[in-house]
């Protein structure tokens, strides 16, 4: 079966210090909880937000935000 490579945002919760810059740069996919820690949309990053996602990853002062490559079947379930 053909595979589509997508990318998903993931936080390393041990490294994350709740700085919050990711949610400021990418409010479409990241919000913060009542203690200031990010809640990340688990779905693949849509192509339209690819650039913003990369900026958010690069801006994280704790290097806790990552883009993880995931292989998904081409056919939607």
């Amino acid at each position: 079966m053909a595979q589509i490579t997508t990318e998903t945002l993931r936080v390393n919760p041990i490294d994350c210090t709740g700085h919050g810059v990711c949610a400021e740069l990418l409010p479409e996919l990241i919000s913060v909880d009542e203690w200031g820690y990010p809640i990340v949309d688990p779905r693949p990053v849509p192509p339209t937000l690819d650039r913003e996602a990369r900026r958010a990853v690069a801006a994280c002062p704790a290097l806790a935000l990552k883009l993880m490559r995931t292989e998904a079947p081409a056919r939607s379930r």
Binding site: N12, P13, C16, T17, D33, W35, Y37
Partner: protein
């Protein structure tokens, strides 16, 4: 502990047909008794394809008995496949769940079965190092078994023993690897999995001690024998630690210095839970799967079996086999609040949501268990439970939330009573066991 699983343990006829008990002898077995009972350790020998045992383990359907029920062959295959000069196998006997006593009893009664499993697993994956990670220091039974095996040249690898700190998360796989690396027993973020990069970066196979004991028997008698007990989906037997009202049940062992009576029973997977746990009027609820487990209401739960397949309807699982029948004279809400306080204190404090959420959840539950509570407290607890779920590096927040949410549901009538300043309990003595003295310092992770 004086006695072990007695023949009068529940489900007598069915247990015997399935060849139970498989793991536990009546008294600690020395090497001579062990070999007489089970026969020689079935090493495959050099040059023999190591995949043979892994294939048998796959066919047996053996899953991890430490709580996660992960297929054993899969982790073995990853380590076996790895091209590395150093590979490690660890027998995990940390048993850091305070209500579980089954690994302790197994290591006392059948240390040679565990050590057989450790050596056989090491041979199958091509390990160069073997470790035993223990909650209590090495017991006389373990030391004797190791010495007897060494004098007969039975073991391919020396076994290094490390003691786990008495913390709830100390047995978590990544915490174990960190401890064996000489650091604190704190969980780390995955990936990589420890089977890919574990101890000192080496591919590391971590298996619970009971899992390794089953593996040693499958290596001897084969997968078909193993599948004679259990269900098709979840074959075999498992050790359970059972707590219930005085007078409930029979047989089993009674470890000393416990606040409540407990016994360790080897049960067939799929056994009706009511053959293991009392379900009459003296019981108000069951707790299945320990402190990361699920409260189940009576009498709705009485038809369930000891199998994840049936328990998942109640969002429950067998976990590491801790089963509790809470007596009718206790306050379930108070019990749940006490354990939740312990779980919050046992957060490693590394992940923001767990560090912030668990103490708030515990405080909320304590308030609900007190006389009267603020109107929004229950909703607050529900919201915090949602906020911490799935957001830890390990499953501590998720397991704690499973315990708390099921308590809120099952003990809802008790919450209403407490709101009016009442409580249904006639016995205030704590029932669920917790370690003596809560953790006080933040640096006792080693």
């Amino acid at each position: 502990m004086t006695t072990t699983v007695s023949e009068s343990a529940p489900g007598g006829a069915a247990r015997q047909a399935a060849g139970l008990p498989r793991l536990l002898s009546a008294i600690p077995e020395d090497l001579r008794g062990h070999l007489a009972r089970y026969g020689a350790t079935p090493y495959r020998g050099h040059g023999v394809q190591t995949g043979v045992l892994i294939g048998d383990i796959e066919a047996s359907g053996l899953t991890g008995r430490g709580g996660a029920a992960f297929p054993v062959y899969r982790k073995m295959a990853v380590v076996a496949r790895a091209r590395a000069g150093r590979k490690v196998v660890v027998a995990n006997g940390s048993e850091s769940e305070p209500a579980s006593r089954k690994d302790e009893l197994l290591l006392r009664l059948a240390p040679n079965l565990v050590l057989d499993g450790l050596q056989l697993a090491a041979e199958a994956v091509g390990a160069t190092e073997a470790h035993l990670y223990l909650h209590y220091g090495p017991t006389p039974e373990i030391l004797r078994a190791l010495a007897e095996r060494a004098s007969r040249g039975l073991d391919g690898l020396n076994v290094t023993i490390t003691q786990a700190p008495p913390r709830f998360l100390a047995g978590q796989e990544t915490a174990l690897v960190n401890r064996l690396n000489g650091g604190p027993a704190l969980p780390t973020f995955q990936p990589p999995r420890v089977s890919e990069r574990g101890l000192g970066g080496a591919p590391t196979l971590v298996q619970n001690v009971e899992t390794l004991a089953h593996l040693a028997l499958i290596a001897r008698y084969g997968p078909r024998w193993f599948r004679a007990a259990g269900t098709d989906a979840e074959p075999g037997s498992m050790l359970t630690t059972v707590y219930q009202p005085d007078g409930g049940g029979s047989g089993g062992s009674s470890p000393p210095s416990q606040q409540s009576k407990c016994r360790v029973v080897e049960a067939e997977i799929g056994a009706p839970l009511r053959t293991l746990l009392s379900s009459g009027a003296e019981t108000q609820a069951w707790l299945v799967g320990g402190y990361h487990g699920t409260w189940l209401p009576m009498p709705q739960a009485t038809g369930l079996t000891l199998a994840n397949d049936t328990l998942k309807r109640f969002e429950a699982s067998v976990g590491a086999g801790v089963l509790v029948a809470l007596p009718a004279d206790r306050c379930g809400l108070t019990e749940a609040a006490r354990v939740t306080g312990y779980l919050a204190a046992e957060s490693a404090g590394q992940c923001g949501p767990c560090l912030n959420g668990l103490p708030r959840i515990a405080a909320g539950l304590a308030e609900l268990a007190g006389p009267g509570h603020r109107k929004q407290t229950r909703a607050d607890v529900e919201r915090w439970a949602g906020l911490v779920t799935g957001r830890g590096a390990c499953n501590h927040p998720d397991g704690t939330v499973r315990f708390v949410r099921s308590a809120l549901t099952v003990f809802a009538p008790e919450i209403s009573l407490h709101a009016r300043g009442q409580c249904s309990a006639t016995n205030r003595k704590p029932f669920l066991p917790l370690p003596d003295g809560m953790p006080t310092s933040e640096d006792d992770w080693t």
